[in-house]
């Protein structure tokens, strides 16, 4: 089978690198969709999780959100996103995919941010309070910096999941890299199908590695000494 040759030729074809359906545009669409979804999820989940973690209340909620989230299959979320988007008259493509991606990204962020704040050594928090830190200062200067690696781990899980699932957006007439896969499957064009799959897989791995790097960078030498 010369499939690999076909895929290589597909990548080599300059036509696939140009115009509104070209690879660069699809990658940008994919990144835009994923980035926005993670950002919105962060804006929704982080303040709630920080509050719950700082006050030590509602751990039950924060942990259970994650468990429910795990039971929500991506394709089911897309289906529900489609129903919501159409009911609101927002049309196909971008919005149904966003409605699917944001709920997917919330649970890992919520749980990790909550756990990250809770895991900060209570002695350090007490010491800070004794030194006259306000709640806001404790959160900003102690809990967030010390919890950052764990928070980033949650964002990493969310981001990799979102990048993977953004592919399904092509099913509801969205753009992004899923286009190549869905079209390739529909048209039985295996070169396009496999090329799309490779691009999505690479993007997911790059996302994973990027966040792994950020996570490592957020572990300052001082933190190691404290722990």
């Amino acid at each position: 089978m010369s499939l690999l040759g076909d895929v290589a030729r597909w990548f080599a074809d300059p036509e696939h690198w140009q115009g509104p359906h070209g690879i660069p545009v699809r990658i940008l669409e994919h990144l835009e969709l994923s980035g926005l979804a993670v950002a919105v999820a962060l804006v929704i989940a982080a303040p709630i999780a920080l509050y719950l973690g700082h006050t030590g209340r509602g751990g039950f909620i924060a942990i259970n959100v994650a468990n429910i989230g795990r039971a929500l299959p991506s394709l089911a979320l897309l289906a529900l996103g489609l129903v919501v988007a159409i009911s609101l008259g927002l049309g196909l493509g971008f919005w149904p995919t966003m409605f699917a991606l944001v709920p997917l990204a919330i649970p890992p962020i919520m749980t990790n941010v909550y756990v990250a704040v809770r895991e900060v050594d209570r002695d350090i928090v007490d010491a800070a309070r004794g030194m006259g830190f306000s709640d806001g200062e404790i959160l900003r200067k102690i809990e967030i910096p010390l919890g950052l690696p764990l928070m980033l781990a949650g964002i990493r899980t969310a981001a990799v999941n979102v990048v993977a699932t953004a592919t399904l957006g092509a099913l509801v007439a969205g753009g992004a890299l899923g286009r190549f896969i869905v079209d390739g499957l529909a048209l039985r064009e295996f070169d396009q199908l496999v090329a799309g799959a490779i691009l999505v897989a690479l993007l997911a791995i790059v996302t994973e590695l990027t966040f792994a790097g950020l996570e490592r960078a957020s572990r300052t030498p001082g933190m190691v000494a404290i722990r």
């Binding site: 089978m1 499939l3 795990r70 039971a71 929500l72 299959p73 991506s74 394709l75 089911a76 979320l77 897309l78 289906a79 529900l80 489609l82 129903v83 159409i86 009911s87 990799v160 990048v163 993977a164 699932t165 592919t167 399904l168 099913l171 509801v172 899923g178 896969i181 869905v182 390739g184 499957l185 295996f190 199908l193 496999v194 799309g196 799959a197 490779i198 999505v200 897989a201 997911a204 791995i205 994973e208």
Partner: protein, 217 residues
Amino acid sequence: MTPGEPLIRWDWIGSHIGEIAFRVGEHLELTVIAIVVGLVIAGGLTFVGLRVPRLYPPISWFSGTLYTIPSLALFSVLVPYTGLTLLTAEIGLVSYTLLILIRNIAAGIHSVPVEVRDAARGMGYTPRQILVRIELPLALGVIFAGIRVATITTIGLVTVTALIGQGGLGYFILLGIQLFFSTPLIIGALGSVALAVVADGALVLIQRTLTPWTRVR
């Protein structure tokens, strides 16, 4: 989803009840095969990794990389080779169970206290007896936690295999998207969530039966 159309048409559900039952069965079948095969492979790999610690990092890295690859991409790469078949679906589904299962089996066996192992050895247990009679039963709780996560994840992923002609309840989701008809969409989506919740509950019951000593009296 056209205006004026109700979100759920109960008469459609009534007239398709047989098909829904069939798809639920298919969904469970795809899930059970994936978990059982995944357990066998993960068990074997973990066993190798524990015996030859040098091999554990590459095994862990391999299963981690598989897990990172988006499901649709993995299924797509396989289609030209294995077609739109059950095999394609299962290769993908099994791949995604490996990371979770390997981590939990290894963590479970590592959680067995050294003293317990030493005591067993002192009583004349062979390494195989220690594994089967001591380590595995004691690790069962942690292993079951992994099986639960893997099962819930797999039930969700099965819906995606509808795109390669399998899919269980995912079939209804795809049908709903294609026909622009919300009833099957909702049946497929809520059905797979319900299935995950029920399966998780069933696994908890099985675990309680298998590890009676963990029950709080």
